[in-house]
Symmetry: C2
Subunit: 132 residues, 2 copies
DNA sequence: GTGCTTGCAAAGGTTTTGCACTTAT
DNA sequence: ATAAGTGCAAAACCTTTGCAAGCAC
């Protein structure tokens, strides 16, 4: 974990991520930062997203749909992946940290964390759904 | 979802997956099926793994480490990803299905499933760990 | 000045796809 | 006979990396 020296590009990436709740992909971040810094390269975006994730300033979401996504919200929260539109939506919900204890109960190793993705239908898609 | 016609290759893939609990990648499946059918192509393996997952005969595990993994155990169970050796281990544990209800409680859409990956240290790595 | 950061382009790894041929039904 | 499956190779896709130049400290 190397030292971080200031860079405008990284700062812009952080700001952009903080400004949205839509969990963009690296490419989406790239497209948006480009508006401000037209010369930024995709490699720089990837490098900074990795660095920021490594330093715990952002979260990397790998939901297995091709590209990873990124989230500046590092507080404890969970995600819903809408089966219809594919969007990732933040869930406000009670803690489910106790599932670690449940998993640990009969496991000979040691569990210290978890990643959860919920699947379902988001509010928007539910409203326009053809089949109730 | 197309009809499935019998094929030796697909049958071999199913059998191989059923014979192991180690959650192989597509490439590992390919290597192993090759022993039986030396001419099988990687494309065929990918096509069949997708088909089988689509039909619910196997599960695709995307833990975000580069390659997807596959599992013939389609019963309800969870996985631990060992932070030290990277292996994926099946967890026998009580149901945590109630987390859907917790997530649903204050969500305006509809939740009907979840994917959980636990992180920690497997038994083997725990034993050889330097720092207690 | 030193070392982290950048842009660019090339390469890497994983997965998908087009095509002509083969096989199951 | 027809539609699904196959092998092969190329392409697509996402991400990482080597390098020389630039910038922060």
């Amino acid at each position: 974990m190397t030292n971080l020296k200031y860079s405008r590009q990284r700062e812009a990436i952080k700001e952009y991520l903080a400004s949205t709740t839509c969990h963009p992909t690296a490419d989406t971040v790239y497209m948006n930062i480009k508006k401000l810094y037209p010369n930024i390269s995709l490699g720089t975006v990837y490098r900074n997203l990795s660095l920021l994730a490594e330093h715990g300033e952002i979260i990397k979401i790998s939901c297995g749909d091709g590209s990873d996504r990124f989230d500046a919200n590092i507080g404890q929260h969970y995600h819903l992946i809408c089966s219809q539109c594919g969007e990732i939506i933040d869930l406000q919900m009670d803690s489910i940290d106790h599932i670690n204890a449940i998993a640990n109960a009969s496991f000979p190793g040691k569990i210290n964390g978890h990643t959860v993705y919920f699947y379902g239908t988001c509010e928007k898609c539910l409203k326009t759904e053809k089949y109730s």
